[in-house]
Subunit: 214 residues, 2 copies
């Protein structure tokens, strides 16, 4: 059954889904969705792809999924024997991995995506960066990265000793923020810095990130 991803180059959520598919060495069709033309808000897209009008949307035969972290989880489980194993099978290891997957979704993403919006995206759209918001979220990031530093002293990856979805989910926002002054917060913490370099240089992610320069 053919796999399809409807998404947009540069969309962090799209890139999250693509990273999982490449880690799994899967062939799939990428169908670009033109956000500028509001294709994702068309009645067709809302009715048949994602009622929230967002990318990515993933199709596997008649199964249609949205929400990038739901897509990666399905891909990791449905194609467990292909490519990189992105999940732990042992229930306790799996539970720890889920804890750190939640930390990404509940803590890292809201903080780093906000910084990315202010520092990277607003200037791109001709809007003015709100320095007070940047300062507020830079301050929030410090204790968060302190916890990451401690965690990465105990295990090589967030979810345990091997690379899993708990790490992979960070990639799109991490990539964006490492091109800004906020990188210094990562550099200041040796384990966080090594972890970031490690996961950003994975071939599957390099393949995804290279779509930006094509």
């Amino acid at each position: 059954m053919a796999l399809k991803v409807h998404g947009t180059v540069g969309s962090p959520a799209t890139f999250r889904a693509l990273a999982a598919l490449h880690e799994k060495d899967l062939d799939f069709e990428f169908i670009p969705v033109n956000l500028s033309a509001k294709e994702h808000k068309s009645p067709q897209f809302l009715a048949h792809k994602n009622p929230f009008g967002q990318v990515p949307v993933f199709e596997h035969g008649d199964l249609k999924l949205f929400e990038s972290r739901a897509i990666t989880k399905y891909v990791a489980e449905a194609f467990a024997d292909k490519g990189t194993s992105l999940i732990h099978k042992d229930p306790k290891k799996s539970a720890i991995q889920t804890v750190w997957t939640e930390v990404e979704a509940q803590k890292f993403d809201p903080t780093v995506a906000k910084l990315g919006w202010e520092i990277v995206l607003k200037p791109k759209f001709g809007m003015t960066t709100d320095e007070a918001v940047v300062a507020e979220f830079e301050k929030k990031l410090e204790p968060l990265l302190d916890v990451y530093e401690k965690r990465l002293t105990e295990s090589k990856y967030l979810g345990g000793d091997s690379f899993t979805l708990a790490d992979l989910h960070h990639l799109p926002t991490l990539q964006g923020i490492m091109g800004t002054k906020v990188k210094s917060q990562f550099d200041a913490r040796p384990h966080v810095s090594a972890w970031a370099s490690d996961i950003l240089s994975r071939p599957a992610w390099v393949k995804v990130a290279s779509m930006l320069t094509k």
Copy 2:
């Protein structure tokens, strides 16, 4: 092996974890954490319970978990044969359930928790409700509940034909908001309204919610 929950009565995240444990008919020890006394920020708690200094924390023998949605997932999987089945075993049904679990975490919770903070909690703490924020988030909730209404026309529960974690995760924020004027948005949508009444009246949830009046 004994199960323990370190948590606080009234904390939405604690209540989310407790709801799962009661649905599973599990015996566990509830260890109150006094947030006013900042017990959750003590060096002991940070080092041995949750490095982020939050409740709940769940223990199953030597396994220690934080993040409420990671706890419910572990409980649902590790005790699959006890009480209510909170997850689908079929991979495609499970994937759809995960989509709606993500919708709760990424869309419902940030909107409804914000409204609850402004309307319920701020007055309780002697702070002033920001009506502009209330209006902004009430407006965000409308299209979200429209999608819920459509979804609940297709299946009785968000994650499929049976009650799962995709529904359960909504309970703490849903309970809080139904005592406010925002309830009218739920009442205006027949399927959403029926779903909310249904899940809020589940015996396991009633047991959790009754802790507030003890």
